[in-house]
Amino acid sequence: MTIKMVSHADLAALVAELIAGNTQVIAPVQAKENPAATDYKQIQKLEDATLGTLPRRSIKEFLFPPSEVFLRYKQHKGDVTVEEASLTRPKQVIIGAKPCDVASTDILDKVMNWDYRDELWFARREATTIVSLLCPGLDNNCFCTSVGAGPDSTSGSDAMLIPVDGGYLVELVTEKGKALFGARAKEVTDSKLLAKVEELRQEARKKVEQNLPVVPAEMPEWLAANFANVYWDTLPLRCHGCGACTFVCPTCHCFEIADEREDVGGGVRRRNWDACQTGKFTVHTSGHNPRNTQKERFRQRVMHKFSIYPKRFGDLLCTGCGRCARVCPGGMSIQEAVCQLMEIAGAEPQGNGK
């Protein structure tokens, strides 16, 4: 673990230098219409950023945009010419990302590189350097420590900033991170600072840990064996099926592929974010829908995050950012669901629905 020091002025200079070098710099920026909210946005100087807040949307949109072009085509009668989406992406640096957001990138790498490698994702991944910011723990919707991440986790980060007097300590995690800071990262002269870092980390963890115990390793198997648990009947009654939770989730990655005509004889094929909470997600052309009611759809969301994904790829598909609970118009909370599931997990399995 390399921890160095970077002053405020140096960080601002770094941002200025990056922008001058045509690198897009992205950071949380206060929303115009709602001073309490922030969004990850391109900034022109460091002062534009409001570091430390949890933006409304996660950083996933900079690696996996809501609407991404696969190809453009031109058509003349029966002939078609196709222009493929470019895989060269402009360099971008994300500064002040929340550790829970950043943790999703490593998790998603696995599904994006499962047999088939999604070059569109990895092109953006490689062009991106992520500098996260130690999170002090926000509110009782946070549960990152329960799902393998944490307010001080560097998973997915190239470097992590830790605010201290006079600037930031910076933990350089990857070569990319080291290269980004270069000589601007100075040796830490004050050894007390390092102790202080440990203290900050512990404090943050402690704050979040109160919200939810750690999800046990048996959870994926238990869930799979409890597909038909009566709990699923009562849980999603208040769910509206809107999918807002999936759209703000840093780990939800389901998409649809859609063609749109732009002009006579031309158009575009895109992938757009899609949500398992809507009925049309799984409906067959015949009208048959394997997940026909909200019960099945909500169960799918919990299952995908806490059973299907971990069984396949090892990681829980959740970083505990709590956005889903914050935006839910029906007052649903996946944290609460997991908590209740953990409580009943001691009881007899109720079968897989057969």
Partner: protein, 152 residues
């Protein structure tokens, strides 16, 4: 997106889509043609059974795909071939036009008129008025913007 000349130049020839009912306005427009009335060629006519067939989506799609103005025209109130269709059109388009205006589309881009089968002259006037309005406003590009979510 289709490229257009800027509004300031005299070269701007707006594209206008007209949704007309087949019973009155289309026949009226036909009359204008057979009477050899001089009309600017900016209007493309889409014939529908009734003006109440005009779904707001038609208008928005027209704007999206490069129209600078839209005309909706049907029979005079009381003359609808389907008795009451145009009364509903009147209510619907009134609200639609207010909403478009509120979102930032100048309401002069959307012209609505009643033109009967015998009013070839009126059709010419409606078309000229619509073209004059849109020429004054300049090209319309708002609805064909895609920026934002797309990063390419």
């Amino acid at each position: 997106m289709s490229s257009k000349t800027p509004a300031s130049g005299t070269g701007f020839e707006p594209k206008i889509i007209a949704f007309v009912c087949t019973w009155c306005t289309y026949t009226g427009a036909d009359l204008a043609g057979t009477s050899r009335m001089q009309m600017p060629p900016n209007v493309r006519v889409v014939r529908l059974n009734c003006s109440s067939r005009v779904n707001p989506q038609f208008v928005m799609r027209a704007f999206e795909r490069g129209a600078d103005g839209v005309i909706i025209s049907g029979c005079h109130p009381g003359d609808c071939h389907y008795s009451t269709g145009n009364y509903f059109t009147r209510r619907r388009i009134a609200i639609f036009s207010e909403l478009l205006d509120f979102v930032g589309v100048d309401s002069r881009r959307l012209t609505m008129s009643w033109v009967s089968a015998s009013q070839g002259g009126k059709w010419r006037d409606v078309v000229s008025k619509a073209i004059a309005n849109v020429k004054e406003l300049g090209p319309f590009h708002q609805f064909s913007q895609v920026e934002g979510g797309e990063q390419q």
